[in-house]
């Protein structure tokens, strides 16, 4: 219960600095990466990477395949050495037993031992940790209440992901790695996962997330880091990422080939996904006018501000195998 009088005295302090100081006292650096470099047989995997992972924050690492995301996570987990720089987790060497006991990791796994039940998997992993999360809470977070007695053989891809998520949190981690957690999950499972991540974050868990699903990054991340060829080329929050792209996106269906559109005025970049063509334009009116004049038969036209996906593509400027359907297009359909 709050004391009215002390609350009143507190109000004399400006609200902003109150929130500010509260934030400072609750957040601390859980893992620190400084000037990290790693090469594989002469090929640069990571170069000059600096990263602070704070408690109560979700850090999302974005990047194309081979950009160095997995290498960075493996180094933070202590499963891989590095050439230069410093890495410390909870002030210690990554991968030490004391660190592992406060860390959870959901890595990409093709399959898990099929002849154990979900409840057995969880109970075994709980035993590895000194202060495990209560069994029921693990089930609730992972949404596995109805399938405790199922063998992992009989799980769908999304259900396996939920079990792996359960195993990653069952030690009550202060630092949690989630490598592509929502792969194969249906919409409701994904919502459940996001809610669990938000809850854990609110409890002070530091979360490192990699994803190909940019809406996930947009929804969850406090801090986004974009890796390209082993270097961090951009960092900031979701809004800052989007702001880095001033262009608008024109999207439509057309029977014509992509090449026809890239020559239109003010078009910076043209791309195609399925039957949809997307044009990035620095002057929407100009591009639209020319587009409608030359190709009056286009359908399903929409114009939107750049989403995280566009920012990502723009910054990365290498096409990604993005499987996302129309995301981030809070567009104006006409």
């Amino acid at each position: 219960m709050q004391n009215i009088y002390s609350a009143t005295t507190n109000r004399q302090i400006p609200v902003l600095s109150e929130a500010d100081s509260a934030e400072r006292s609750t957040q601390h650096c859980v893992a620190r990466v400084a000037k990290l470099a790693k090469t594989f047989q002469g090929k640069v995997a990571l170069n000059d990477v600096d990263l602070n992972i704070m408690s109560g924050q979700v850090v999302t690492i974005l990047g194309a395949n081979g950009a160095g995301k997995t290498t960075l996570i493996n180094i933070l987990l202590g499963r891989m050495g590095f050439d230069h720089g410093e890495v410390s987790v909870f002030g210690q060497t990554p991968g030490s037993l004391a660190v592992k006991r406060q860390t959870g990791a959901m890595l990409q796994v093709a399959n898990l031992p099929e002849t154990l039940k979900i409840s057995e998997h969880i109970q075994l992993f709980q035993a590895y940790y000194p202060n495990p999360m209560p069994y029921q809470q693990v089930l609730d977070y992972a949404g596995l209440n109805d399938m405790q007695e199922r063998f992992s053989r009989k799980l769908s891809g999304g259900e396996k992901q939920r079990l792996l998520f359960a195993l990653s949190i069952c030690g009550n981690p202060k630092l949690l790695f989630l490598d592509e957690p929502s792969v194969g999950m249906d919409v409701s499972a994904r919502q459940g996962l996001w809610q669990a991540i938000r809850d854990l974050k609110a409890k002070g868990t530091a979360i490192v997330l990699t994803t190909h699903y940019l809406q996930e990054a947009e929804n969850l991340a406090d801090h986004i880091v974009l890796l390209k060829e082993g270097e961090i080329i951009k960092r900031g929050n979701s809004d800052e990422f989007k702001a880095s792209v001033s262009a608008k996106v024109i999207r439509f269906c057309s029977p014509h080939t992509l090449a026809n559109f890239s020559a239109l005025p003010a078009v910076l970049n043209a791309s195609q996904s399925g039957k949809y063509i997307s044009l990035q334009s620095s002057a929407v009116n100009q591009s639209l006018q020319a587009l409608l004049q030359c190709y009056p038969d286009i359908e399903d036209l929409s114009v939107s501000g750049a989403g995280l996906e566009d920012a990502f593509l723009h910054l990365n400027s290498t096409p990604l195998p993005l499987t996302t359907s129309p995301v981030n297009q809070q567009g104006v359909a006409s």
Binding site: H28, M80, F90, P113, L116, A127, Y128, K174
Partner: protein, 263 residues
């Protein structure tokens, strides 16, 4: 929430012996459940040695007690090698290939717990296999041993499985998941034949008898046959030393493979 200081990190690093014991016990329990429920592994491992023995030791030996006794000793070795090579070897290779071992390695599971659990499961399987062989041998094949002989034989079989566990561990750490079962079969079956586990080496050319001296199953089989006084009359100490040397070699190889994987 307070900043993580060195002291809280240290606290999280402490384990009581009871907690450690519990992890070992649970790991062993679930390794056992995982293995026994896996019919594709458990049924062949438990039934093949018994089936072979019923065919060759009981039905085709036409009441020849000596043949039945010889084959009991050698099929016991054959039966013990199976789980060691397949549960350890193929099972581990498959779990590595799936990425499951990465999850285990990232968890604070003590590495010894998994090793212990797998050795325990192999020994338990070995015990079931040799006991079922013993029951068939004593009831259907007319093999007669004293209690002491039986106990000695069972101890030799089960303890003798250890070098094969370590060989399986090495293979499991080195082989790729998709080829592991085939490669392990290609090692297991010729090794069994060339060591005289299916038929006495005395009916094979002498060069093969010489070659068998290089194979660990030969020495384990000779130790088992010594209980029935059907061995080649070589000193037991030599067999013991050779098995010990192989155990050390396989242990070294397994460590090498483990460290290479960890890099």
């Amino acid at each position: 929430m307070n900043p993580v200081s060195a002291s809280t990190a240290m606290e999280a690093g402490k384990t009581t012996p009871m907690q450690l014991l519990r992890v070992y016990a649970l790991e062993a329990k679930y390794e056992w459940l995982k293995t026994i429920r896996n019919r594709a592994f458990a049924l062949p491992a438990l039934l093949f040695p018994l089936m072979f023995y019923v065919f060759f030791g009981v039905l085709f030996s036409h009441g020849n007690e000596q043949a039945a006794t010889y084959l009991l000793c050698t099929y016991g070795v054959f039966g013990v090698m199976g789980p060691a090579l397949f549960s350890f070897g193929a099972g581990l290779a498959i779990e590595r290939g799936q990425g499951w071992q990465d999850i285990k390695a990232a968890s604070p599971m003590p590495a010894g717990a998994q090793l212990f659990a797998r050795v325990w499961v192999c020994s338990a399987f070995s015990l079931i296999i040799v006991l079922s062989l013993a029951v068939v041998a004593a009831t259907l094949a007319g093999v007669s041993f004293t209690i002491l002989q039986w106990l000695g034989l069972i101890a030799i079989w089960v303890l003798g499985g250890l070098p094969f566990c370590l060989l399986g561990l090495t293979l499991g750490l080195v082989l790729k998941a998709d080829s592991a079962p085939a490669i392990i079969n290609a090692i297991y079956l010729p090794l069994a034949f060339l060591s005289g586990l299916w038929m006495p080496l005395t009916i094979l050319p002498s060069i093969m008898q010489q070659f068998a001296l290089l194979l660990p199953p030969y020495h384990l089989a000779q130790l088992a046959l010594k209980v029935a006084n059907l061995d080649m009359q070589q000193p037991a100490l030599m067999h013991g030393i050779v098995l010990l040397v192989f155990t050390v070699i396989f242990l070294g190889l397994a460590r090498l493979a483990y460290n290479k994987k960890a890099l």
